[in-house]
């Protein structure tokens, strides 16, 4: 009655960047928090890895020396590996070195041999990092292909809901995503390398010193196997997210405003579907990090995964530790990046209500 109602309502205008510094913004805060959590998680994982690989039964020294294990030699190797010191000291030493990137030398018999018939003089990190590029290429190419395919197919299926592409695609996706990775890889090998066609090599045996980039034909089948396994997942999740968005009131409202279908798809629906899609892409990458182990093993693809399998078979503890921790770091960083990405596209969380 007295005041015009509208001004009474608008007493609290929405706040913009309210004089805080950028590093206090919601995004920055989240990054700090996740980073701290991530570091904590990494430390815990490091503890687990260390104890799983050194404390639990399994005599490293004997395993290395094999036939030539005499008590004297065992003692010598143990001293060399520092196995005769108290546990906690060992852990702290190890951890300290690890942070500096020193994981010791590889125990692999295949590496250039030192004078013990077992322990080599090659640093674990050097050996593994050589293979890193190959794995990165494998993951990268797969991720790009499966993400693009999956998102485009998922979006299309959502728009042409209940159409042939949608129902057919969903069934194919269900079957393809259920298949175990190595079975898919085997089928791929049988189909394209050995039994039906022989377009590509069954094994990706890179000549040492050369990079995968100069032998792209060795990349095809591993990528194909991984793509078959991961694309359906991206497809299903994108489709699901899109459908949820297309069913919302605000998309309905946009239709009632007379907005064209294309604008609805890209300007109204997509921005809101981005959050789950980003999560999916992140999860996809996470999965791939673990998934390359099997695929590389099958194709003898010279990457980090194969190195891990070989290290496991050879009880090469330092290498195992390094690779596992590397994966864990990758996981943590990827999680943070994904969360930040999701936050960036969700205005409701990015600009909280005053």
């Amino acid at each position: 009655m007295a005041t015009t109602p509208a001004t009474a309502e608008v007493q609290r205008p929405p706040e913009e960047d309210e004089g805080g510094r950028w590093w206090q913004s919601p995004i920055a805060q989240m990054v700090w928090r996740r980073a701290l959590l991530g570091i904590l998680t990494l430390v815990l994982i490091a503890v687990i890895v260390y104890f799983a690989t050194t404390v639990l039964p399994g005599d490293a020294a004997t395993a290395i020396l094999g036939q030539s294990a005499t008590p004297a030699r065992i003692a010598k190797v143990e001293a060399e590996l520092g196995l005769d010191e108290p546990l906690l000291t060992r852990f702290v030493d190890w951890f300290g070195n690890a942070i500096h990137g020193d994981f010791g030398n590889s125990l692999s018999a295949a590496a250039p041999v030192g004078s013990h018939g077992g322990a080599s003089k090659e640093a674990v990190t050097t050996l593994v990092n050589e293979k890193l590029l190959n794995s990165v290429v494998l993951i990268g190419v797969t991720a790009i292909v499966s993400t693009l395919l999956g998102i485009l197919a998922g979006m299309y299926a959502a728009f042409r809901r209940d159409g042939i592409f949608d129902t057919g695609g969903s069934v194919v996706a269900l079957v393809a995503s259920a298949l175990p990775e190595f079975v898919v890889a085997i089928f791929v090998v049988m189909l394209f390398a050995v039994n039906v066609f022989d377009w590509f090599p069954a094994l990706s045996l890179l000549p040492p010193g050369e990079s995968i980039l100069s032998h792209l034909n060795m990349l095809v089948l591993p990528v194909l196997a991984l793509v078959i396994v991961t694309t359906p997942y991206v497809f299903r999740m994108t489709r699901g997210a899109m459908i949820e968005v297309l069913d919302t009131d605000y998309v309905e409202f946009a239709r009632m405003k007379g907005v064209s279908p294309r604008k609805i798809a890209f300007r109204h629906a997509l921005p809101n579907a981005l959050a789950p899609v980003i999560q999916v892409v992140g999860l996809n990458l996470l999965y791939l990090a673990g998934g390359i182990v099997l695929v590389e093993a099958i194709f003898s693809y010279p990457g980090v995964g194969l190195a891990l399998v070989e290290a496991i078979n050879g009880r090469d503890v330092p290498t195992i530790q390094y690779i596992v921790l590397m994966l864990a770091v990758f996981y943590v960083i990827l999680n943070i990046v994904t969360d930040v990405g999701v936050l960036l596209v969700t205005p409701r969380r990015r600009y909280p209500r005053s």
Binding site: T41, A178, N284, Y287
Partner: protein, 329 residues
């Protein structure tokens, strides 16, 4: 004024007893009503049948017949010989039940561990919750296969370790799902109503929270089982699960890879069986998830009346994006 309240549509029907078995049964029946559920269950049962009945019909999985990779139909049997000259058929028949038993045991362990952890975390909150959820994060911070490989490589390939390792990798997800479900249920008014009577928390959990957790648990268990099977088979494939000369589908795929050109069956037979099992369990767990979604709508019946079942076509995905926490594969 109050007329005879008989409107045909809402004549209350005598519903089945709301027992645990009742609800679980209803979920299963709902799943089996869909094509997806039927096919999934059928495929699964076929492979399970072969796996458990196979050994009864198999000859010796280790006897040698002729040279390596004998052609099919020859002296090594209808599926030919494997890398050492053993009968592929016999080994295939004998190679499944171990995988299934180990996977089942691992899944059971994951369910038990995960459920307890999830419910405790939800209901206790505070420190217990943080502790459990951090542990979940840590366990999920390493890829499942890598984690189990790590354990196996150091301690050795023992069946019990496979069970424990696989169980440990699947438990965190169960914990997450159950925690979310328990929290959700605890927020419901009917649980608060009971709390308002002064009922002690333990009784509240037992009578009101846990029964509502059954259905999400069922859904999650089916999913965990399908993942466990894949994990166990992968371990065998890498040589860290069942050890040769024992017959095992995963092992067979690996050891017969070399002779793909000579006898494809050494690889193809176990691969097809594994694939069928994986697809079947996955389809069935998917069908259960959907049955759960459509049955769970406690929303306004009047609005949903006309649109349910005419709308939710069979092809509809459970759009519950809580499945998003799962990885692919």
């Amino acid at each position: 004024m109050s007329a005879d309240a008989t409107t045909p549509d809402v004549v209350p029907t005598k519903a089945p007893r709301a027992s645990l078995g009742g609800r679980a049964g209803r979920l299963l029946r709902g799943a089996l009503r869909t094509r997806r559920g039927q096919i999934g269950l059928l495929l699964t049962l076929i492979v399970v049948g072969i796996a458990f009945l196979g050994p009864l019909f198999a000859g010796s999985p280790t006897a040698l017949h002729g040279g390596p990779f004998e052609a099919p139909g020859g002296v090594a049997g209808p599926l030919g010989g494997d890398s050492l000259g053993r009968s592929v058929l016999d080994r295939v028949l004998d190679g499944g039940w171990r995988i299934l038993l180990i996977s089942a045991a691992a899944t059971a362990m994951a369910i038990v561990l995960g459920s307890i952890a999830g419910v405790v975390a939800a209901y206790r909150g505070g420190f217990a919750d943080t502790l459990i959820m951090r542990t979940v994060d840590v366990l999920l911070g390493i890829p499942s296969l890598v984690f189990v490989l790590m354990l196996l490589s150091v301690i050795g390939s023992h069946a019990w370790l496979v069970i424990v390792g696989v169980g440990l990798t699947q438990a965190p997800q169960v914990a997450r799902v159950l925690r979310a479900a328990a929290q959700d249920v605890s927020e419901r008014d009917y649980v608060k109503a009971v709390a308002a009577w002064g009922v002690p928390p333990r009784t509240v959990i037992r009578r009101h929270v846990i029964p509502s957790l059954l259905t999400p648990l069922m859904v999650e268990s089916a999913l965990r089982l399908s993942f466990s099977i894949i994990l166990v088979a992968s371990l065998s494939f890498l040589g860290l699960g069942t050890q040769p000369p024992t017959a095992d589908w995963g092992v067979m795929i690996n050891e017969n890879r070399v002779g793909l050109a000579q006898n494809v069956w050494g690889v193809l037979a176990p691969a097809i069986l594994l694939a069928t099992l994986a697809v079947g369990t996955n389809m069935f767990s998917d069908a259960i998830a959907r049955a759960n979604l459509s049955a769970g709508s406690a929303g306004d019946p009047t609005l949903q009346m006309a649109l349910t079942s005419s709308n939710v076509a069979e092809g509809d995905e459970p759009v519950g994006l809580d499945a998003i926490d799962e990885g692919p594969g």
